[in-house]
Amino acid sequence: MSGDQGQPGTLERAVETTLFASDEPMTIDALAAHLGGLAPGDVRDALTALAAHYAERGVQLVERGGRWHFETAPDLAHLLRREKEQVRRLSRAATEVLAIIAYHEPVSRAEIESIRGVQTSAGTLDVLMEAGWIKLAGRREVPGRPVIYATTPAFLDHFGLASRRDLPGIDELRAAGLLDPVDEAMEASMRFDPDDAEDSE
């Protein structure tokens, strides 16, 4: 892991050029296979060295949901934003639904609606599907077998998340029981002093 000084190793250069040329993020396995069946461990070492090398530069190597790609350094956004903004604006409903799916996944439409207290129009889910951020994740084995939704690697990629554990505040929300259904929270709180229900975990 030489990183910053001296010549980069052969493998490091190979991974660098491959990720640079690829038009989509790549997993370690995809890199190893593309480079002719390397050991994934070696590829991981090269990625770590590369990420360190690029850490202070104007371009960075990042991992998003198990896939790696180069992107511009976030602190230089102001240099690029002006003419390049290409992100669609999401409605408030869509951002809320996306957050609910990300923090609760997999989750059914009924569960989304019970959190929001309002019906979700089909269009909202369609917009998120079309953006490639959510996907159908099977059916819940309860009466009616509702379809359930989950986020995709493209979601993690777009929002700069290495994994779902990086969702802002997810640990605090979970610790506070705010990701549990109301019924569960009610049960938990009724077992204790109702006046302190909100502090129970």
Binding site: E71, K84, I115, V118, L167, E198
Partner: protein
């Protein structure tokens, strides 16, 4: 009832400036997605942690809002009114002495409402933080013109020596000169059938079945051939005006007899 300067955390919810004072609420009927949304907004105006909001005060705010909206003759969606009715019930229950309260207790209902508001509030905040991250295409950019990775498919052909010589043997066997033998099959020719049927027709003027014309001791295959030939012979004789044919139904016995006014040939 509410502080006009309450900061709002939901940038997308309404055009800036419309919430500067309480009256502005009425201009925003479409600004809330359902009663829970409105309740959360009102709760936030209490400027306390959602866990410490006064449900009673919240109920009052909501009912006041609905009343004023009604006074301005604004049409309210049914779910706002259902919520209003439910909150009015909750309020009256909470005002009753403990021993007269029903089950589930108003405290329980209030707690449930509070939990729901907390969850919605948490998700709304999470959504805002998510949207505030460095997003690809807005804050960070991937390479605009990547060279791309290409996978060329190459076919590697495989065969073996046995397949090769076997194929050659088959070509040779297939194209070798062949001698064909045609089996000598027992048949009755059309000519002999014509002769035979004509001769037998000469015997009588009665209807006869075609099958009776067949050679009685022939082998099965000769019989088939004879039947076919005799049938064609019968048709030929009918065409020449020397016989007539009769059949009751398809596949029924075919009968034949000599025509009386037969012209001498």
């Amino acid at each position: 009832m509410s502080d006009p300067d309450t900061p709002f955390m939901f940038p997308d919810s309404a055009p800036a400036g419309t919430r500067r004072d309480a009256d502005a609420l009425y201009l925003e009927l479409d600004g809330w997605e359902g009663p829970l949304d409105l309740l959360l907004d009102l709760a936030r105006r209490q400027k306390v942690d959602l866990r410490q909001i006064s449900i009673l005060a919240l109920v009052d705010q909501y009912l006041t809002y609905i009343e004023r909206a009604g006074a301005m003759r604004l049409e309210l969606a049914a779910d706002y009114l259902v919520m209003a009715a439910w909150l009015a019930y909750l309020k009256s229950a909470m005002l009753l002495p403990k021993d007269q309260q029903e089950d589930p207790s108003p405290e329980e209902l209030a707690l449930r409402l509070q939990l729901r508001l907390q969850r919605l509030g948490a998700m709304r905040e999470a959504a805002a933080r998510l949207m505030g991250r460095d997003r690809i295409g807005r804050d960070v950019f991937v390479r605009a013109a990547p060279e791309g990775l290409r996978t060329d498919r190459k076919t590697v052909w495989r065969s073996d020596i046995f397949a090769l010589i076997q194929a050659y043997g088959q070509v040779k066997a297939r194209t070798a000169p062949r001698i064909y033998l045609v089996a000598n099959r027992p048949v009755m020719t059309l000519d002999s059938a014509l002769e035979r049927v004509s001769a037998m027709l000469g015997v009588t003027l009665e209807w006869m079945e075609l099958r009776d014309f067949l050679p009685p001791h022939a082998s099965p295959e000769l019989k088939r051939s004879a039947l076919a030939s005799s049938f064609v012979a019968a048709l030929e004789l009918a065409k020449r005006g020397r016989a007539e044919l009769d059949q009751d139904a398809a596949f029924a016995p075919l009968r034949i007899r000599r025509l009386k006014e037969v012209a001498p040939v």
